[in-house]
Symmetry: none
Subunit: 266 residues, 3 copies
């Protein structure tokens, strides 16, 4: 099999449909690198790689790739519809509502397409209510503070009396969104790290890479693979930054574990 034929087979296997016609050596080259190489590497499962890919394509505004990857993730069964919908909400928080709104629309569209292709009805969605989190504002904030500490692996939570931290971070992001059932912690970590890497504001990338490693939700090797996958989907400069942050946070976590008497078993 030529390398282009191998890349095309890899694409079809991952995406559940055949690749577009390759019209230039440069396009063949990209196809080979992304599908025959990056997606095939050990360290992250195919399912994991979907959770890194989806936020990247949702952020990149390239509607074709977004449509293709939503279809592939659902049609292959690697990602359930419940997980996909929670991923949209998680992405909304870390990548912004307008892009999430489009992402959500494309999930609807592809979910209908898949059911149409299979000749079966789209099942009704589960009801939103009741929520699993408290309604009382004081209790919500308390839950948000605990969740903030748990997710960020920090001993403190921010003060509640500015709108960003109070009404936003504690009340909604940690008091509600991160606590929703339907999407695992590992998957939330993969999505979050991809999002802070493309948004690349200085502190969130540090705090979320740290927390993903410190919590042992992602191992050091998995973080490296995430970085490579992200490079393919969001480019080398932001990946280089992520790589540097990951190296620093690995050192920090290793030192902390040593001080706490744990080895780097992650």
């Amino acid at each position: 099999m030529t390398s282009t034929a191998r890349a095309e087979a890899a694409f079809t296997d991952i995406m559940t449909f055949p690749p577009p016609e390759v019209t230039s050596p440069a396009a063949a080259h990209i196809l080979a690198f992304v599908f025959a190489d990056v997606w095939q590497r050990p360290g992250l499962s195919r399912r994991d790689r979907h959770f890194v890919t989806l936020p990247c394509v949702a952020a990149a505004d390239a509607e074709g790739p977004l449509r293709d990857h939503v279809y592939a993730a659902l049609n292959s069964g690697e990602v359930t519809i419940t997980e996909m919908r929670e991923a949209v909400l998680h992405f909304a928080v870390y990548g912004g509502w307008p892009k999430a709104s489009r992402f959500n629309m494309i999930v609807d569209e592809q979910w209908h397409r898949i059911h149409g292709e299979r000749g079966v009805e789209v099942p009704p969605p589960p009801p939103l209510l009741p929520l699993t989190t408290p309604s009382d504002p004081e209790a919500r904030l308390a839950a948000g503070e605990q969740s903030f500490k748990d997710v960020n692996c920090l001993p403190f939570a921010p003060a509640r009396d500015d709108p960003f931290h109070g009404a936003g971070i504690l009340n909604f992001v940690f008091g509600e969104m991160w606590l929703r059932p339907g999407l695992g912690m590992r998957e939330r970590r993969l999505i979050t790290v991809a999002c802070v890497a493309f948004q690349d504001a200085p502190y969130p990338i540090i705090s979320h890479v740290y927390a993903a490693l410190k919590s042992r939700d992602l191992s050091f090797t998995e973080m490296d693979e995430l970085t490579l996958h992200f490079a393919a989907y969001y480019g080398w400069p932001k990946a280089a930054h992520l790589s540097q942050v990951a190296a620093e946070q690995k050192s920090r976590v290793t030192e902390e574990w040593a001080a706490e008497g744990h080895g780097q078993s992650a």
Copy 2:
């Protein structure tokens, strides 16, 4: 009223048309947070919130939300067509011309749609010329230097002999764009802060947050609300960075005001 019904009513009230059908708990959740919660908060008027929302949706490349928000802002009468067109030009500078080009196209399209719905003719635009700024290059640069100092609340302007600062910043951005009539200083501040927050290069976000506060064009509370609104529309990581910059610049401005003998009445 259920919380989804309340969110739908809030959406309709703000957007001037009913919300899309809610097909998942995650979508219901976003709707409730953004429209029934963030948009309803005191501290920024609904009109102000449009000037934060528009650059975010224009930057996000999600064409549906951009179309919807341009329609809502114009159809509700909260933003005039003259202000909207100046907002496009201001956005072009701070968010990039390619995205502004699409924004402009959608303003044309929605402006025609609104007039079509009302059965009235689209009025002709006011003529571009004469400009209110000097034509002579030396006079333009002098006006640009003064405007740079005024807008940035700084005692100096950059040297003119590099193309970015001379031909760009002094000649056009401050020598022309910021001086155009048709859009108020407060509205330009809201747009600019949103843009520097999503572009998130380190210095512009500091200098524009500082200037918005120092000029008293935006109060401390308004900056906090802007940050929360921005978080909903562009994601928490960049908003977290904005929040930190805002906290630092509030301290800086408070100290400067104290040294100047003014209270923090802003």
Copy 3:
């Protein structure tokens, strides 16, 4: 030589300094793909590739890579300081001024660093004035309209009576910026295509890819290589979109050339 050693040698050759220590297989993999593979391909010169790389790293907010690539382009002599400064202004228009402001600052910093390392004084910049473009607003707009047609390979220019097109596009972007000496048309094309590809608003990417091909400033093969290089520096999803646009515009240009009686000698 191992493939990592080859990649490290390629990095050093292009960047004019040795690569960072490779701390993971994933990092080694990225290094090999970007430097030993993409940068070495025929179809675009190393100098050309700098003009694609610079806007990508300036857009990505990754300060380390931006610093490294500005240094490499100037220190290698592939890009002159005059070209670099015009590239910053061109990038400001297509990528947004806040990011351009940081890019400009880093050009200053690296230019001083290079002169420091060589033990020579930084030469003074050439004066901004006189400009080569007309001062009279009516004459500027006329020059802007002609330049708009020439650059975009179109028989018409937009109406001047909306601020985006009049005060912005005709008066400044085409009436001034594209007409400045100091940076060639080919280089402006490379920067512009990279910028419209990461901004990815639907029309500008079409019009600028079309014009780059139609003007024969970039050949079909060069556009393909630009797409691959862009993929490495800004990620696969946006590159996939660029690739599709390029394929469509090649067809369009080929048909137009056939109708005009020219061959596709580009």
